[in-house]
């Protein structure tokens, strides 16, 4: 393309742009494309613009320069040296012109990035800026351009600018002076740091101080909708980089820092301390030494009388930095100063009971970490002083605090060689400390710290202290529970040494007596409980657990089946002691199973036959029956059976369940029981027979425990399931003599239903409806039996609803047929919610079929049924309300929250009912929905009714329970945080006045709640 053509094209584009009112960017784009594809040269564009660039018309001139700058910006064009030079000169000239300075700076931003910009041009640009640009006359965005140009040139042409010397430095200082915008400051701070480090600023320190320290401390707070995302932290860290950029700042900065430290807010304090931490090493030891006294005095206050924990932590960092700086020089002055500081802190330890003792120790420990050589000095000063205090008979009251100080000091010494000279005295402190009841806890902490320092204590010494501690633990008079817990934690931590098995455990086991304690031996009871609670924590390893198993089972047999003097013993005490022994065993087993220890299956084989043997022997014998009749022991044993069976596999479970079935249903106890004491060959054991004794029936939970965890694929030992389920349900209603037995039988039925209903669904469902007709609906049988049948029905409901069985909701809904009939309707109503209650039988861990969303499905069927029927006549209505509250309170509120507007009036109605349980349930539901956004509007509508109801219930000590009153008051106390003040205000005075009565309630716990609620209401204001 010839010259003329290209000239014409550029001229055309320029004129289009000048005339255009929209899409200007697109035209600029066209020009850029033309230039970069060499259709015309950049200088052609300048020529075409010629008239505009020099036009007399201000507006045209501005536009002309603007277009050129836009092209440069958008284009990212690489141009040759001459063009760049020409453009640079051109722009520099335009800086003089108030109309073109803005676009000219814009163009220079682009040019300054050009690789072909020569150093001479760079200097020329800088000179032009210094000469013509008056920062105060420009807006932020333009000032930002100026800073960007300087920043870019500083990076690319640093040498050339350094050559300008003072001219550049003072020019820049006057440019940057008075800048206030955070966006510009971020660049300015970066420039200042480069200048301070790379340029010779020795004659301009004060100037730089003025343009940097004037911003300290940064108090900038970004507006909530700040689009630039600049935080105070950004500014602080950039500024801090400047403050720490030059050592000559010291004399000017330190007084400023100290002033801000004394007068500032906590935020300023923290900023100052952090800045000092960075700056002190830069300002240098020599200078710092001159001001060391005042710096130290200001810093120590921040630790001795701390503003808050975070400021204190930062101050300790600063002190560390300070100590490092003054330790970095050999000057004698520094050494004596350090001595003074150490001495001052050490002296504060003289009064360990005062509030400054602990912070002084913190200071000392920090200084030890700052400089390793200081450790020795500090330790040699502090240890003797503390030892003197510990041993001073007039200071006994302070001994615990002194030992704590020793503990901190020892902990700060990471090097064993520093400690060795003091080891003997530390050992003395330990020995004496464990003997005094007031300092044991602190002494133990000291021992722990010493143990953590490798190589300080020998194995023999550790063994000695383990014995001492175990003996202390076994002191019957030792009542400090916290200390005892710590001993156990300590012993379990040193587990890896042999001392536990050789020293501690034998002592602990031998503390267990062979006979139960007397009822009034309170101290001994506490001791034995303590030992039994400690053993499971200590015996987790394979070796120690075996010891525990042998010791505890043997002890259990000795206690439960004494050879002589049987009739003299308090039988309940025997059972209780046996219970405690089994409990320790079960706790250990639980931990082992949870930890998947490989040796657990072994104990399934070892323990289960013995366990069954003990109880079946007891049930069939005449003189040892007390074990079998005590439900609590049987339940615990059943838990152990379940636990082991759960961890088992289907094969072992099959063998186990067959034996249990033979023993409990076919009269062959020897199938499952083996061990001491031997069960006679002809022993009669048939818990499910008509003639079974109470003791025999009591063992049904032990059989049930074996059924619960069965895998669904384990074949049951019965031919047909439905007769077995009938037997279990009926046995619980007609034969069981207590609730434990009945619940176990129903639990087994429920577990089988849940896992096997699909084996023969119609037969089983038929069986269930027969049970419903002949037991629940049957008005001819007595009331107690019908209630029991309803409880059995809850288990039926549970089994089916957990597996999302289609009949589940309907079977539960049948309970509503009883709602017209008093008094059974009450039981039926509560049963609707009870089917949802969690239990330990139909669970995933017991391999039951538990489907997702079964709760939702159940609630979504039953809740509409209840809501549509609730507006009926009296007895049924109360039942529906009761059913509603029992159903809703047992499920997460997400399931019903969308019906909150229907629920609220009904909940308020149920708050008026006399039944305490229904009211408590209703308040629980109110608590559950209180956090929901969806409910807040509904809540506001009913605010005044709710306040009245809660006041009525909370202040009525006759018709309510303690827990109900507490719930009502607590809910009332929650309202100020849920409602707007305008909703509260009309009630505030009345609530406060009425609540005064709750402060005089007969129960302490209610009064406490009253105090809380009243405070919350008193504090709320508009």
């Amino acid at each position: 393309m010839d010259d003329e053509n290209s000239q014409a094209k550029s001229l055309r584009l320029v004129q289009t742009w000048m005339a255009a009112t929209s899409k200007k960017d697109q035209i600029v784009g066209d020009i850029v494309t033309a230039v970069s594809s060499a259709q015309f040269a950049l200088l052609d564009l300048v020529k075409s613009l010629g008239g505009y660039l020099t036009s007399e018309d201000d507006e045209l001139r501005t536009k002309g320069v603007g277009l050129l700058s836009s092209v440069l910006h958008q284009g990212n064009l690489t141009t040759n040296r001459q063009t760049v030079h020409a453009l640079t000169l051109f722009y520099c000239g335009k800086l003089d012109d108030t109309e073109t300075i803005v676009p000219a700076l814009d163009g220079l931003v682009a040019l300054s990035k050009q690789p072909n910009l020569s150093s001479e041009d760079a200097v020329a640009v800088i000179r032009a800026i210094f000469t013509y640009v008056k920062m105060k006359a420009l807006v932020q965005a333009v000032r930002y351009h100026v800073f960007s140009i300087v920043d870019t040139l500083l990076t690319k042409h640093r040498k050339a600018l350094q050559g300008m010397g003072t001219e550049f430095i003072s020019g820049y200082v006057s440019l940057a002076e008075g800048e206030k915008d955070p966006r510009n400051l971020l660049v300015a701070f970066a420039i200042a740091r480069v200048l301070l480090i790379e340029f010779d600023v020795s004659h301009h320190v004060e100037n730089f101080f003025n343009i940097t320290f004037c911003y300290f401390p940064i108090s900038f707070r970004p507006t909530p909708s700040d689009p630039y995302g600049i935080t105070a932290e950004d500014l602080k860290s950039r500024l801090r980089d400047c403050l720490s950029a030059h050592p000559s700042f010291g004399p000017l900065a330190i007084p400023l820092f100290l002033e801000k430290l004394t007068a500032g807010s906590p935020v300023t304090k923290r900023d100052t301390l952090e800045s000092m931490t960075v700056c002190l090493p830069v300002y240098g030891a020599e200078f710092i030494l001159e001001h060391a006294k005042s710096v130290w005095n200001s810093l120590k206050i921040e630790v001795l009388q701390p503003t808050d924990p975070s400021t204190e932590a930062i101050a300790l960092d600063t002190i560390k930095s300070f100590i490092r700086v003054i330790s970095s020089t050999d000057a004698g002055q520094a050494a004596s100063l350090r001595d003074i500081i150490y001495e001052e802190c050490v002296q504060k330890l003289q009064e360990p009971e005062k509030s400054q003792a602990k912070p002084s120790m913190k200071l000392l420990c920090t200084m030890m970490t700052a400089k390793s050589s200081s450790s020795e000095v500090i330790v040699s000063k502090a240890f003797p002083l503390l030892f003197k205090l510990v041993n001073d008979p007039t200071e006994t009251a302070n001994r615990p605090s002194v030992i704590l100080l020793l503990c901190r000091l020892t902990d700060a010494c990471h090097d064993v060689t520093i400690l060795l000279p003091f080891k003997d005295e530390l050992m003395g402190v330990l020995t004496a400390g464990f003997e005094s009841s007031t300092c044991r806890q602190q002494t133990l902490a000291l021992l722990q710290v010493m143990l953590a320092i490798r190589g300080l204590l020998t194995t023999e010494e550790i063994g000695y202290f383990i014995r001492t501690l175990t003996e202390t633990f076994l002191q019957p008079s030792e009542t400090n529970d916290e200390f005892n817990d710590r001993i156990v934690t300590f012993l379990s931590m040193v587990n890896e040494t042999r001392h536990l098995g050789e020293t501690a455990l034998p002592l602990l086991f031998s503390a267990l007596p062979d006979r139960p304690l007397e009822r009034d031996a309170a101290v001994e009871h506490r001791l034995i409980k303590r030992v039994l609670a400690a053993l499971p924590t200590l015996c987790t390893s394979r070796e120690h657990f075996e010891t525990l198993y042998i010791r505890l089972t043997t002890k259990f047999e000795i206690v439960s089946f004494p050879v002589s003097g049987n009739d003299l013993v308090d039988r309940e005490a025997v059972s209780a002691y046996g219970f405690a022994l089994l409990k320790a065993l079960s706790t250990s087993l639980e931990a082992k199973i949870a930890g998947n220890h490989v040796d657990t299956p072994k104990y399934e084989e070892l323990l289960l036959p013995r366990l069954y043997n003990w109880f079946i022997y007891s049930a069939t014998s005449t003189d040892h029956q007390f074990l079998a009749v005590e439900c609590r022991v049987v339940s615990l044993a059943a838990e152990i059976v379940s636990m082991l069976s759960r961890a088992s596999n289907p094969q072992r479970q099959k063998a186990q369940i067959d034996s249990v079935y033979s023993a409990f249903f076919q009269g062959d106890p020897h199938a499952i029981a083996f061990g001491f004491p031997r069960i006679p060959k002809d022993a009669q054991f048939a818990p499910f027979s008509d003639s079974a004794s109470d003791a025999e029936k009591n063992l049904v939970p032990l059989a049930a425990a074996c059924f619960y965890p069965l895998y669904p694929e384990v074949q049951l030992p019965v031919d047909e399931i439905h007769p077995f389920i009938k037997l279990l349900l009926n046995w619980g209603v007609y034969y069981a003599t207590n609730e434990h037995q009945a619940q176990s039988a129903w639990g087994v039925g429920s577990s089988i239903l849940n896992k096997h209903i699909d084996d023969s669904p119609s037969a089983i469902l038929g069986q269930l409806s027969e049970f419903w007709r002949t037991n629940v609906l049957n008005k001819d049988i007595n009331y107690e039996r019908r209630c029991a049948s309803i409880r059995a029905w809850i288990w039926v409901g549970k089994a089916l609803l957990r597996r999302n069985h289609p009949q589940a909701s309907q079977l539960s809904a049948q309970l509503m047929d009883l709602f017209e009939e008093t008094p059974i309707n009450q039981k039926a109503a509560l049963a609707i919610g009870d089917s949802l209650c969690t239990d330990l039988v139909i669970t995933k861990s017991n391999h039951a079929v538990v489907k997702m969303l079964h709760v939702q499905k159940y609630v979504n069927t039953l809740l509409p049924l209840i809501l549509s029927n609730v507006n009926t006549s009296k007895p049924a209505q109360i039942s529906y309300l009761a059913a509603l509250s029992s159903l809703v309170q047992s499920v997460p509120c997400a399931i019903y929250i969308h019906r909150a507007s229907e629920l609220m009036p009904l909940l308020i109605c149920s708050l008026e009912l006399p039944d305490v349980d229904i009211r408590t349930n209703s308040i629980n539901i109110l608590f559950a929905i209180s956090g929901e956004q969806a409910a807040s509007k509904i809540l506001a509508q009913h605010a005044s009714t709710l306040i009245d109801s809660m006041l009525n219930i909370g202040l009525d000590s006759l018709g309510s329970s303690t827990l109900l009153r507490i719930a009502a008051l607590r809910y009332l106390g929650l309202l100020p945080s849920l409602l707007s003040y305008s909703a509260l205000h009309p009630h505030k005075a009345r609530v406060l006045w009425k609540l005064a009565k709750s402060l005089d309630d007969v129960k302490r716990s209610v009064r406490r709640e009253g105090v809380n609620t009243r405070t919350k209401w008193a504090r709320c204001s508009g």
Binding site: Q305, P306, E351, E353, K354, S355, Q356, P400, P516, L517, R519, D520, A521, A522, H525, I528, K529, E572, A573, A576, Y577, F579, A580, K583, R632, S961, T962, L963, A996, K997, L999, D1000, V1002, K1003, R1004, S1005, R1007, V1011, N1012, R1014, T1015, A1018, R1019
Partner: protein, 171 residues
């Protein structure tokens, strides 16, 4: 602000008060944790020394980050309760403590809000523990003066700050 006592003695706080009035049961090895939860509805639990101590022990000292209990400004034995009267005695950490009135006022406000109105509450500085003992006692037990003090918004803010910890029972 002048600090009246920059380095006071700190005492370890007692654990939750063990009530002397609790009836003792015969010992056994059963798990009796559950039995404790069951509340006996019929027994009346009167307001006692420990309960009032629980109300005020966590009030913060205006000068230090410690509670009145940790500084031994208040203690259970320094409280007495009879039919309709409560007497609380407190010990300033130093005899020239200028904060004593503020501490006393905080105690009074807490008890005013937390005790039934039937109680007459008297708050005294421990005899001999403060140089202007008489003036402080007079200020704290004069209805009009207390009411006037509570008209001062700045003072109310300070008192509420001291009470923050007490209102959450030290948590």
């Amino acid at each position: 602000m002048e600090v009246f006592n920059p380095n006071p003695v700190i005492f370890a706080p007692a654990k939750a008060t063990s009530r002397r009035s609790k009836p003792r049961k015969p010992e056994s090895f059963w798990d009796d944790e559950e039995a404790d939860v069951e509340v006996d509805e019929n027994t009346v639990e009167p307001i006692d020394q420990d309960e009032i101590f629980d109300l005020i022990r966590h009030i913060s000292d205006p000068e230090h980050p410690n509670s009145l209990e940790e500084l031994r400004v208040v203690s259970a034995p320094q409280i007495s309760v009879s039919e309709n009267r409560v007497i609380v005695e407190f010990t300033p950490t130093v005899p020239h403590c200028g904060m004593s009135t503020l501490i006393g006022l905080s105690i009074r406000v807490r008890l005013m809000q937390s005790l039934p109105p039937r109680f007459k509450v008297d708050i005294f500085v421990k005899p001999g523990s403060h140089q202007s003992e008489h003036a402080v006692n007079k200020q704290l037990n004069d209805k009009e003066r207390v009411a006037a003090a509570l008209e001062n918004p700045a003072l109310v803010v300070t008192v509420e700050k001291c009470l923050e910890k007490a209102e959450s029972w030290g948590a």
